[in-house]
Symmetry: C2
């Protein structure tokens, strides 16, 4: 995959000559697609001495351990207490509670980070619980519409962007530590405020999910049999799990509604040009969209 256009606050991945920092124990809470991919990436790169996986289903965790995704399996978050770094990869509606529990467990000795798709609501909850100093809010922009650690891969994070959203209360040394972990698995990193993150992701992730879902929902069985490749690409993310996406959309409702408003104004402009039969305006509208999409690179 081509690199995204760099933004001024995006750092390059650690180069070969600048060997990544290694960690003692990394605990992964929630061994699903992201947690499982992180386990594989950390182990394949020798980034930690030990990877502890914490989850709710011991049989599934044992399978992940046998597959080499983690070294130790436990259903008790207390198993993460000795870790230098705890990465919470649970669904968005459980994240704040798990981050707070992990932060209490590791205390001053450890650092807690997460992979949540929304940041403002989680950061507020963690701050209210007095656990903000040792928690580095993060969101690696990687994933797929699939679920489960089997669907993951050590390469999932490579060359992609991880957004860190520290607040004033966050310990700066811990931000650097988490930054090094994500660079260690091949990511570029950027730092923005939780609010800016949520505004940006509403436009680049949450709104596209809603639009894809609405397109898919419109088709009945007959319409569906007349769809082609373009429809499949455009709606692929609509297969995402509603139990993952409901808390994301509700947890970021204000920015998502704002993005929806902007989207609807774009559609209304095109609709007006169609109603008028205004060829120049339709072309201008499409050309602006094409220029923006082409600027992403890689068709």
């Amino acid at each position: 995959m081509a690199l995204h256009p760099p933004s001024p606050d995006v750092t390059a991945p650690a180069s070969g000559s600048d060997r990544p920092r290694t960690f003692g124990t990394i605990a992964i809470v929630g061994v699903g697609l992201l947690g499982g991919s992180l386990g594989r990436a950390v182990k394949s790169r020798g980034l930690a001495r030990r990877v502890v996986g914490v989850g709710r289903n011991l049989a599934r965790l044992e399978e992940a351990r046998e597959a080499g995704v983690i070294d130790v399996a436990s259903t008790d978050i207390a198993a993460a207490a000795g870790a230098e770094l705890v990465v919470v990869c649970t669904p968005v509606d459980r994240l704040a509670a798990d981050v707070i529990a992990a932060a209490r467990g590791v205390g001053e000795r450890g650092t807690v980070t997460d992979v949540g798709s929304i940041k403002g609501a989680i950061v507020r909850d963690v701050e209210r619980a007095g656990a903000a100093r040792t928690y580095v809010p993060a969101h690696p922009l990687a994933g797929s519409e699939q679920a489960g650690w089997e669907a993951g891969s050590a390469a999932l994070f490579e060359r992609k962007l991880c957004v860190l959203t520290p607040i004033e209360a966050t310990d700066p040394a811990r931000v650097d530590l988490v930054d090094q972990m994500w660079q260690g698995v091949g990511m570029r990193t950027a730092r923005v405020s939780p609010e800016e993150h949520d505004r940006l992701l509403a436009l680049t992730s949450h709104l596209p999910h809603v639009a894809a879902a609405a397109l898919a929902a419109l088709l009945g069985d007959r319409e569906r049999s007349f769809s082609s490749t373009g429809f499949r690409d455009t709606t692929r993310i609509a297969s995402g799990d509603p139990s993952v996406w409901t808390p994301i959309l509700l947890g970021n409702a204000a920015p998502v509604r704002q993005a929806l408003g902007r989207f609807e104004r774009e559609l209304a402009a095109l609709e007006e040009a169609l109603a008028k039969g205004d060829e120049a305006e339709v072309t201008r509208w499409l050309a602006r969209a094409k220029a923006s999409r082409d600027a992403l690179g890689e068709l």
Copy 2:
């Protein structure tokens, strides 16, 4: 690629035991992505004795001839007059005129078909010109956001659906002939009215293009650097050429506006559920979309 869910009026591709009919000369008017792919497919399958390519740029046509896409190159549509079958692959805003010219050229000896993404407006123009009897309106649901014969492939049509939209004036024997040609290059075929085609394609192709374009248009440079794989998939088709898409959207304006209205009502329902913080309703909305997308098969 998995087969789309069959609809009752979709026929299977010709089986091995049922050898496809071969043609004398097939003329392709407009040797771009679709015309070039058709040339390659016809020649690689030995479906015609000769493939004549007609276009506006002789140097480009000669390159296509040297690449084995066509056998004969000409900038004069009169070169198509001796063909058993003329397939018009020019842009939608030139289609009706080219179909009419080709139909006059081949007269009763030949059959004319096309690959246009809209059907009603073109069929009406051809009928008004008195050329409807020998013209079989068709739309193979294949393509990409790329352009030019170099981007084409002999496999482009395989297992995909070709929609034929004959009207009362169309000669039924010629519909069967064109049906055999598209099955001969590996397509399934279906027959619906031009109006039904335009309503279906507004939902499965034109609206998704507009939605993808609107999503892409919303991003500035900063937002763009925070986009990930899902955004790329969802907006890929927005890279399509505005000169291709403007006549499609304007030529099918009423069904597209109707589809836009349905789309906006879907979005408004989600927005209302978000405004109310109605978790059950957001989940229900997303689950309905996921079920529809999953019914397409192949993630």
